[in-house]
């Protein structure tokens, strides 16, 4: 089913210096503590991180529980904020496709799509033989998910010892890490434009609609970046 050698190779890739492990742990410690504060028990907290494994969605769920939003509202809000996972999947999975792998495995392995694992894979896929890329990816995803779940549990247990300023400190780690990653990814005109326009339009569209700003801003910026980048190459 899964090639153990490549799975383990993927699993240990989280140890690298550019690894998202620190950022991932910091933000899920904060989520674990937040879950405890709003009244979830330890099983529910772990269950939530294990099943959702996408930070902005979990944050929205937590806030919705506080204000008592309806399930439909939660669904729509989470879908909107996590819809970015769609282009992320489409920009990664074609690289992992191989006819020897069963289809079902792709539908299960896509659960690991979250920015941290996605970035490791984008950086490393070329070094992995195509046939085993999916196994490598499952290893990367499992490693990231283990960090996320352990950090949630840890955050839950130390919640009473975290004051407000510490929570704020933990909350900035992830955005800072990913800002660095995005700046590091600006290697071509196309990528630089995608990142710069994405940030600018994300903010501009916030004034039009806070719910839709990520999708509308991202879509407009990405499309502009694509066309300008393509025309500059030819």
């Amino acid at each position: 089913m899964i090639n153990t050698k490549y799975f383990l190779k993927g699993y240990v890739s989280i140890k690298g210096v550019d690894s998202p492990a620190i950022a991932l742990a910091a933000s899920f410690i904060a989520i674990g503590a937040l879950f405890k504060t709003i009244g979830l028990n330890i099983q529910e907290s772990i269950f939530s991180t294990f099943l959702t494994y996408a930070l902005p969605g979990s944050l929205i769920m937590a806030e919705s529980l506080i204000v008592g939003a309806s399930l439909l509202n939660i669904f729509l809000a989470v879908w909107l904020v996590n819809a970015r996972l769609y282009p992320m999947t489409v920009s990664l999975f074609p690289l992992l496709m191989h006819k020897s792998q069963p289809k079902l495995k792709y539908y299960l392995a896509c659960h690991f799509i979250a920015v941290s694992a996605w970035l490791i894979m984008k950086e490393n896929y070329k070094a992995v033989e195509r046939k085993y890329r999916l196994d490598f990816w499952i290893g990367v995803g499992a490693a990231n998910l283990s960090v996320a779940v352990s950090a949630t549990a840890f955050g839950f247990f130390i919640a009473d010892h975290l004051n407000k300023d510490m929570m704020i400190g933990l909350a900035i780690v992830n955005p800072v890490y990913f800002t660095c990653v995005m700046v590091g990814a600006m290697k071509t005109i196309q990528m630089s434009l995608a990142v710069i326009l994405g940030s600018l339009l994300g903010i501009v569209f916030y004034f039009v609609s806070p719910e839709w700003c990520i999708l509308l801003g991202g879509f407009t910026a990405g499309t502009f970046a694509f066309f300008i980048g393509e025309s500059s190459v030819t």
């Binding site: 529910e44 769609y86 282009p87 920009s91 990142v195 339009l201 990405g222 499309t223």
Partner: protein, 107 residues
């Protein structure tokens, strides 16, 4: 476990999984050297950047309690550290928590 919370967790996971699932369906039809693949790559990076900008400028949760200016300064300083440390990810991430902790507890 309380039913409300379990339902909320299930709904959240489902809403998240849908985008991943549809992504795999689309991936089946896309070649990695095609233009449409490059377009999706731009979309992935631009939506991530839009999300990041939103989190930093209009945050939800704990970050919302810090002044906009302080958040901006911390991100800016960390980015400078990242660039002068030859793109080391550990220094800016660890220091960001420390800077913001110090700034938000003193101002």
């Amino acid at each position: 476990m309380s039913l409300n919370i379990v339902l909320a967790i299930l709904v959240t996971s489902l809403a998240t999984y849908i985008s991943r699932f549809l992504g795999v369906i689309t991936s089946n039809k896309i070649k990695e050297n095609s233009k449409i693949f490059r377009w999706f790559n731009c979309l992935a990076y631009s939506t991530l950047s839009a999300l990041l900008a939103r989190i930093i400028i209009f945050p939800a949760g704990a970050l919302a309690e810090v002044d906009y200016f302080i958040r901006f300064i911390v991100v800016f300083i960390c980015l400078i550290i990242f660039l002068i440390s030859k793109k080391n990810f550990v220094y800016p991430t660890v220091l960001s928590a420390l800077f913001l902790y110090l700034l938000s507890s003193n101002f």
